[in-house]
Symmetry: C2
Amino acid sequence: MRRSDRLSEIIEIVQDGRLHLARDIAECLEVSVRTIYRDFDTLVASGVPIDGERGVGYMLREPVFLPPMNLSLVELEALHLGMAIVAEAADTELQVASASLAGKISKVATANGRVPKRWGFGVYPFVQAKLGFKHMPAIRKAVREQEKLEIDYRSLDSKASTRTILPLQIEYWGRVWTVSAWCEKREDFRAFRIDRIVTCALTGDHFEDEPGRTLEDYLERVNSDLTQTDKNY
Amino acid sequence: MRRSDRLSEIIEIVQDGRLHLARDIAECLEVSVRTIYRDFDTLVASGVPIDGERGVGYMLREPVFLPPMNLSLVELEALHLGMAIVAEAADTELQVASASLAGKISKVATANGRVPKRWGFGVYPFVQAKLGFKHMPAIRKAVREQEKLEIDYRSLDSKASTRTILPLQIEYWGRVWTVSAWCEKREDFRAFRIDRIVTCALTGDHFEDEPGRTLEDYLERVNSDLTQTDKNY
DNA sequence: GCTTCAACTGACAATTGCTGGCAGTTGAGT
DNA sequence: ACTCAACTGCCAGCAATTGTCAGTTGAAGC
């Protein structure tokens, strides 16, 4: 096995975000532990963010590692447009992230003479965009990790209610954001405008997909009855 | 110089999308030509899309090469949200590209156990989104490459006109797209709704930034007089 | 304070892989 | 037929990688 190949192998092994011992990796790749130590030196010298702690093991500092990739020019353009929109239309955390991502990509792709210096995408702020982002990060987390949420909601006709919901998807409507969820109170799907959620608490309760309550079920329902979703927010 | 470092060096050299001779690269990196041939073998074996043609030289097949990178989870999330929006709100070419990019990224980041299977972003179609995309690709190209455009425009009050414009920026307004440009006819900045451009031709004329006609000048103007832009479409 | 664990470091001999030079082949274009 | 430059195989020399061994270091637990 070539050394350069082994280095990629090591990255793939460490990529799961868990702790790894040099001993295990050495065994797995059939080289000596000493060699693994040297390999980690090389990787760190090349800028791969690996932390080694004495008596503990090795771990990737940044959760997501992207191996070398090839993009077409159009894909790169789509990425920059997407980041421009997100930088304008989403919550602060995502705004920062999109700017940072666009920066990272620009930096490494700039060397290429065929990449335009400027992408020329502008995005105009949406009137309601400033408000109602308070709970976005929490809701995004809940969607990602399938965690139940407890929310105080104030509907458009000003009726307040408290519910436990199983958030399935966040929707972007151009001016407002909604979260579609299974509502335990109503025992049905509901869509909530994020800017009208008063308080929002992560319960810590994980939920699994259950027949009749999945995102797919919801989307099917929406498709079969397009007016249905509009009623709830 | 370590071999693995030289391999990255070679990629950086070839990255400009132009043709390169093994001889030149060898000279630049101070190794023999034979070594360069071996290096290209290694790179190709590792999946870097390099084409070598006898009697011609070496070239990167895909225009943009992304070196290994590290992203935070939030950056990855921003990327997927951005791609979801672009997949819904932009022209066909960008739609395809955004889907393809999201797919590529998912594929290589899937191995990591900490990356969610599903991002849970939905984007609802905008009413006017279906129409008016006909000229988007051409306009995007013109903005990227600073090329003059000749357009037939039909303003909101149905007045038709033909103009030569220097497109500076494409703007996304949530429901409509506009292109801001220096208009040679009016000798001033104008913003045009893309869905109201009847015909649109790339002239092949390249233009450079000129004082008073740059994107920066335009943005300054817009900032100082917010109502100005709304008049023109 | 002692022990344990596993990351680290340094040294050295063995070996592997890389390198340069050379002589030739191949395929495309002129 | 000729040129160009990518490619291939071979070989000797050398530089990089490797395993072994014998340590040190820092954190955590007892």
